[in-house]
Amino acid sequence: MRRCAQLLVLLALACRPAERGASAGDAPAERIVSLAPSLTELLFALGAGSQLVGRTVYCLYPPAARAVPSVGDGLNPSVEAIAARHPDLVLLYRSPQTETAARQLAALGIPTMLLRDDRMEDVARTARLLGHATGHPAAGDSIARVIDSLVTAPIPPPSARIAFVVWDAPPIVIGSGSYLDELVSMAGAENVFHDLHTPSATVSLETIASRDPDWIAILRDSSSAEPPAWAGRREWRTVRAVREGRFLILPAELFGQPSPRAPESVAFLARFLNHSSLPASQ
C-alpha cells in the first residue's frame, strides 16, 4: 500500500517529456548520482551500474543498486550530500524542487540532467540520452528500439476492464496520463478511468462501483496474494470486483516505475488476464 502511494507521488508530478538540463559534456560520465528509481534502473540496464556513485533511498532495483551509497531523497534532494559524492553527472527527475537543486549543483560546477520519464515513450528517449551520456550508446539504442516497437505495436482489443486503486480513503485511481494506463492497454485491457487525463485522481466510491471494473489492480511490495484490508469494508463491497475478490496484485518492483522491463510488465499482465478468463473467479 505504501509503495503504491509512492508510485502515486511519482505519477502525480505530471508528465512532460524528458528534457536535457545543463550540458553533461562530451566525455562519458564516470561518477553518476541518480535521483530517481527509474533512472537508477535504466543505468543498470544500460550497463552503467558501475559508474553509479549515489542513489536515492527509494532506488532498490536492481538489487545491485542497494550497494551504492544513498544520498537521501530524490524529489527534495540534499545538494550537499550529492556534492560529497564528487559526481561528474547528476540525474534528476524534473520538478520545481529539483530544478532549484540543479541550479545549485550547476553553481558548484557539477553537470546535471533534468529528466522526466513518466510515459513509455519517455523511457526510449531517456535510454538514448543516458546511453550517450554514460558511454553506452549501443545499449541505449537497443533498449529504445525495444520500447519503440512496444509503443508502435498494434493495441489489442480490450478484453477486460481494470481500475487501479492506489489509495482507499479517499479513493484514488490511476488516470490516462500515466505509464500504468499504457501498460494496461498494451496488455489487452482497458483502464476504466482512461477518461481522466491526469496521472491519478480522487474519485468517489460510487463512481468505481458504477464503472464496474472486472478487476481491481493494486501495486504491492510483498508477494502476498491476500486482498487488501479495505476489501472487507461494507462500503467497498458495493464494487462488484471487490465483492467477488477479483484483485490483480502486481509487484510494485516491476510496475511501480517506468522501466526498460516494460515488455515484461505487459506480458505479465496479458498472461494474468488470459489465465483468469471472465467471469469465473480468480
Binding site: 502511494a5 479517499p170 474519485v203 468517489s204 462501483a209 472487507g232 469494508r233 461494507r234 458495493t238
Partner: protein, 313 residues
C-alpha cells in the same frame, strides 16, 4: 415557522444527498441499489452528524470564549488530530480503525493540554488563556507533525494528509453508528448548559451575580464542545468554516438564546455539510473535491456578506 423552514431545508438537503451522485441510479431502483444503501445514505447521515456537531460545538465555544472568531479547530484540536494520524502512519500501525483512533487520541491530547493550560494559575479557563493556549498547542503539534513528515517516508505521509483532508469518503454504517451513539452525549451536556451559557455571554461578573457557577460551566462546555469536535475530526478529517459560520447564521435567525441557538446550529451545520458534500461529489464528477474546500468556497462569501451587514448596521 423558522423551525419549519429549517426542517424542510434539512429534508431537501438529505434528499439531494441521496439522489444526486456521479453514478446514475434510476429513481425507481434507488431503494434497491447498494449505492443508495451502502454509500450515499451512510455518507449523508455522517455529513449531518459531523456538520451538526461542528455547528453546535462552534456556537458553544464562541459563547464560552466570547469571541465571534472562535472555531472548533481554533483550540488546537486539528493540530492534535493531524499529529496523531501522521504518527500512526509513520509508525506503520495497521488496521482499519487506526487512523480515526489515532486522530481522536491526538485531538484528546491537544484538548487535555489546552485544558491544563487553561487552569494555570487558578485562571479557571480564562477565555484569553484558552484561545492563546489553543493556538500555541495547535502550532506546536503542527511543528512536530512537520518534523515527523520531513523525517519519515514522504509517500506514506502524503496519505496522512489525504486522509486528514479526505472528508466524508470513509463513511460507512460502522462510523455512522459509532458517531450516532457518541454525539448525543456531549450534545445533551451542552443543551443542559444553555441557560448558564446565556448568562455567560453577558459577562463573567453578571453571570456570577445571577447564580452561575462560571468555572463549572466553562469546564463542561469546553470539554463537551471539544469532544464533539474530536469525534468529527476522527471520522471526517478537518472541515473548516462550518463551525465558524453556522453559529453566526443561527444567531441572526434564532437570536442568542442557547436553548434555540444550539439545536438550530446543529441543524444548520448538518444542512451546510450535506450540501457541501453533495457538491464535492458531483461538481467535478467523476472526480471528487475535498469537502473542506467546498465549505470554504461556500462559506467565505457567505461570511463576507454577513460581515458587511454587521459593519453597515
Amino acid at each position: 415557522m423558522k423551525w419549519l423552514v429549517l426542517s424542510l431545508a434539512l429534508l431537501a438537503a438529505l434528499l439531494a444527498a441521496v439522489t444526486l451522485g456521479p453514478a446514475a441510479v434510476p429513481a425507481g431502483q434507488l431503494f434497491h441499489s447498494a449505492i443508495f444503501w451502502d454509500l450515499r445514505l451512510p455518507r449523508a447521515l455522517l455529513a449531518l452528524l459531523v456538520g451538526g456537531s461542528l455547528g453546535a460545538a462552534g456556537a458553544s465555544l464562541q459563547s464560552l470564549v466570547r469571541n465571534p472568531l472562535a472555531d472548533p479547530f481554533l483550540l488546537g484540536l486539528s493540530g492534535g488530530a493531524g499529529l496523531g494520524a501522521v504518527l500512526a502512519i509513520a509508525l506503520h500501525l495497521g488496521g482499519a480503525w487506526t487512523l480515526p483512533l489515532a486522530a481522536f487520541a491526538g485531538a484528546l491530547l491537544a484538548l487535555g493540554l489546552v485544558f491544563r493550560l487553561g487552569l494555570v494559575g487558578g485562571s479557571a479557563l480564562d477565555p484569553r488563556v484558552l484561545l492563546l493556549g489553543g493556538v500555541a498547542v495547535g502550532a506546536f503539534c503542527g511543528a512536530v507533525t512537520t518534523a515527523v513528515v520531513s523525517l519519515a517516508e514522504a509517500s506514506a505521509l502524503r496519505n496522512a494528509y489525504l486522509w486528514l483532508w479526505g472528508g466524508l469518503s470513509g463513511a460507512s454504517w460502522d462510523t455512522v453508528t459509532l458517531v450516532a451513539v457518541y454525539v448525543p452525549i456531549p450534545l445533551v451536556v451542552l443543551l443542559a448548559a444553555a441557560r448558564p451559557l446565556d448568562l455567560l455571554t453577558l459577562g463573567e461578573e453578571p453571570a456570577r451575580y445571577l447564580g452561575t457557577d462560571v468555572a463549572v460551566t466553562r469546564r463542561r462546555v469546553y470539554l463537551a464542545a471539544s469532544l464533539l469536535t474530536a469525534a468529527a475530526v476522527a471520522v471526517a478529517g478537518v472541515i473548516g468554516f462550518v463551525g465558524l459560520i453556522v453559529p453566526h447564521l443561527g444567531r441572526a435567525l434564532f437570536g442568542g438564546r442557547h436553548r434555540a441557538l444550539l439545536p438550530a446550529s446543529f441543524l444548520a451545520g448538518g444542512i451546510l455539510l450535506l450540501l457541501a458534500d453533495t457538491l464535492a461529489r458531483t461538481a467535478v464528477a467523476p472526480r471528487e473535491l475535498p469537502v473542506g474546500v467546498v465549505t470554504a468556497l461556500v462559506g467565505v462569501p457567505l461570511f463576507v456578506l454577513l460581515l458587511r451587514r454587521w459593519t453597515a448596521a
